[in-house]
């Protein structure tokens, strides 16, 4: 069994390695504060006897050598960086639980055939350079030398300049990994959503990381004085926008309540004056589903709806697709193994999609990959109130531990 006290000790220590902020944790990748966090994790890794490796961009590994060290590694971990004023679990829980697995292996004198690597990815949140999943994208080779001069922080410094300050004398080990060196990657993460908690489920197994369509809708009408233009003669872009959103929301709920999410995160009117009929309304649509066909269906509906709104409100809707990300399927063998392991431990399991991106999404490009979700309080994340119980962390660690042992035999 995982040791809850050790999990708590790691999380609480890292919670306190933070730049000053509003009650949460701020430990942005490749900053002096991040180095402090890395130093703590490295010390814990060394205490278990792991061999430390830090690559050129700051990803940190703690390696437990297997009895057959030429076999590819089993890797587990997550990211150690945070957004500004974050909670203490997003990413960190995955690193800490993978580290706990190493402790358990040592404690129980279990010798794996494969190397077991605990990884702490850097800059997953993208807070420092505006590029999410930076560490894992260097590992897969999606980012490379060129990007070190291209990527700049808010102060205009390049990634290369920051790395020189951050890593001086530490490492020049290439980040890019040969896929042949990895047997599997397992990432444990708090759900960042409310489903597991609400359904009293111990363990979530991620099937897909969802497809994401992002659109911006701009509706142009005609401004007028609130008191002098009769309602029937208006070209009110704001009312048209509210109707558009209401209709699309109802459609998505009716057809895809369990399979997709539609989010209108930004919505603004122009001129945004209490006594002026808005001549322009702009809003964003964020459409996600494990099934990319559903995202396409909803986008198709958006286009049809635009025509109806144009006609009904005498406005012009412009529909602009900003981006489309294909879904990423997790490895089915690993998913089955996770499920069997969790059930053997008597834990309840739920399959779900990950609506957020994770390093696992990137790693799946070079190796079999799967994710374990553990419940988090009310689904709150990127907020000081993010919370995971030590018991749930321990359950997740146990699943990870047993899965790695099973995987090692294959």
């Amino acid at each position: 069994m995982a040791n809850q006290n050790r999990l708590e000790q790691d999380i609480e220590t890292l919670r306190n390695i933070s730049d000053p902020c509003d009650g949460g944790v701020t430990r942005i990748g490749l900053t002096p504060r991040y180095r402090q966090g890395v130093n703590y994790i490295k010390a814990q890794m060394q205490a278990v006897g792991l061999t430390i490796r830090e690559d050129e961009v700051g990803n940190v590994y703690g390696i437990m050598q297997g009895t057959h060290p030429t076999l590819p590694s089993i890797i587990s971990g997550s990211h150690l960086d945070t957004v500004k004023n974050a909670g203490a679990f997003d990413g960190i829980a995955g690193v800490v639980c993978a580290l706990e697995v190493a402790r358990m292996l040592k404690e129980q004198n279990i010798q794996l055939k494969h190397n077991y690597e605990v990884v702490a990815f850097v800059e997953e949140e993208g807070t420092h350079f505006g590029t999410v999943l930076l560490g894992s994208r260097y590992i897969t080779g999606e980012l490379n030398e060129v990007d070190k001069d291209r990527l700049r922080n808010d102060e205009g410094q390049t990634l290369r300049q920051i790395l020189q300050q951050y890593s001086t004398g530490v490492t020049t080990i290439s980040a890019k990994r040969d896929p042949q060196t990895i047997k599997a990657f397992l990432e444990l993460h708090d759900e960042q959503g409310p489903v597991l908690e609400a359904t009293k489920t111990d363990i979530g197994i991620v099937d897909n990381i969802v497809a994401i369509g992002q659109l911006v809708i701009t509706i142009t009408g005609f401004a007028g004085h609130a008191g002098t233009v009769p309602m029937t003669m208006r070209q009110d872009a704001g009312i048209a926008g509210c109707q558009f959103v209401s209709h699309l929301n109802q459609y998505t709920l009716r057809k895809y309540a369990e399979q997709a999410t539609l989010t209108v995160g930004k919505f603004s009117l122009s001129p945004n004056s209490a006594n002026t009929i808005p001549n322009q309304c702009t809003f964003t649509l964020d459409i996600r589903s494990g099934d990319e066909k559903i995202v396409h269906n909803i986008i198709k509906h958006v286009s049809s709806l635009a025509l109806i709104i144009n006609d009904e409100f005498n406005v012009v809707c412009e529909v602009k697709q900003v981006s489309f990300k294909d879904p990423v399927v997790m490895d089915s063998g690993l998913r089955q193994l996770l499920q069997a392991t969790a059930e053997d431990l008597g834990l309840s399991v739920r399959h779900l999609n990950s609506g957020a991106g994770h390093d696992a999404m990137i790693m799946s490009g070079i190796c079999p990959t799967a994710m374990i979700f553990i419940p988090c309080y009310k689904g709150i994340t990127h907020h000081p109130d993010e919370n995971v119980t030590w018991q749930d962390m321990a359950k997740g660690t146990d699943v990870l531990f047993n899965t790695i042992i099973q995987l090692d035999k294959k």
Copy 2:
């Protein structure tokens, strides 16, 4: 018949007396530029032989003495100030047409029994001191000496300080009028709405200046990640707001399409991030009707709707009434006289409510008051594109002229 060339000459001259702006007119009350506009109007008044009077706050009168100068005056006019980057007709048309009536009386050697006063109110728009209808409110006594020290412009100068710069050596005549000195006030104004133009009507007669209820609705939900919180588990303040607005709009259209206006001019989300479920939505409601009971009914519906939205979206709607202005009824005798006069001239007439406030609203507190609306292009106002045809201005002036002659006989 009114002389269209003279009307054009006045409007175009005043259009060019403007501070630099984006294609429109900027002549804010009590500024040096405003003094230039006043000087032009005074010169025109003097050319017709009117006696000039400028009061302590900058309202300007041109008085044509009647054969029975102890009788109360018939007054007509409007305001000479503009908003920033305004059109050339809002307010100005009423001053210019009233001035043209004086020219027509002189031209036709008509001697009225009553004094006829052409008035140019100051600071109706409230652009300088944030207080609308300033000039007329000094005339009725609603504003007084105390307000000269209380009202401040954006630079922190008091109205008294600005008046000292503006009026030095010009006048100390009290603005406040004894109601006994006024027989009637008639204000001609462009409609600032699209109804007369769309219905091809020559003359609008204002029945009421509408009651106005202004509310702010704040909806509080719960934030979450766009990808990780299933739609059925959300407390999405933005979707709740859009549904609220859509529903209320449909209700108002269904019940009061011709009798009321509902405007949602401001609408905002928090945190207003594309991939975050909004935890707060705030919007304004501007509800107007000639019948204050209808405004109250709609406000009552808002409260009921808030309860439904709370229940349906698991949010909390706070309904705050910011202000309520009672409707102002125009004098029925004057309205009948205006209608009879317009019909005698073979002009089409439509009764409507004024959805905007006007000096007439204030003047009605101390004397019988009525308003003539003339068509304006697409209802555009407070914009450089505001436009009124010279023909429509002339028709309005003819109605004003004939009404004043009839009124003089009573």
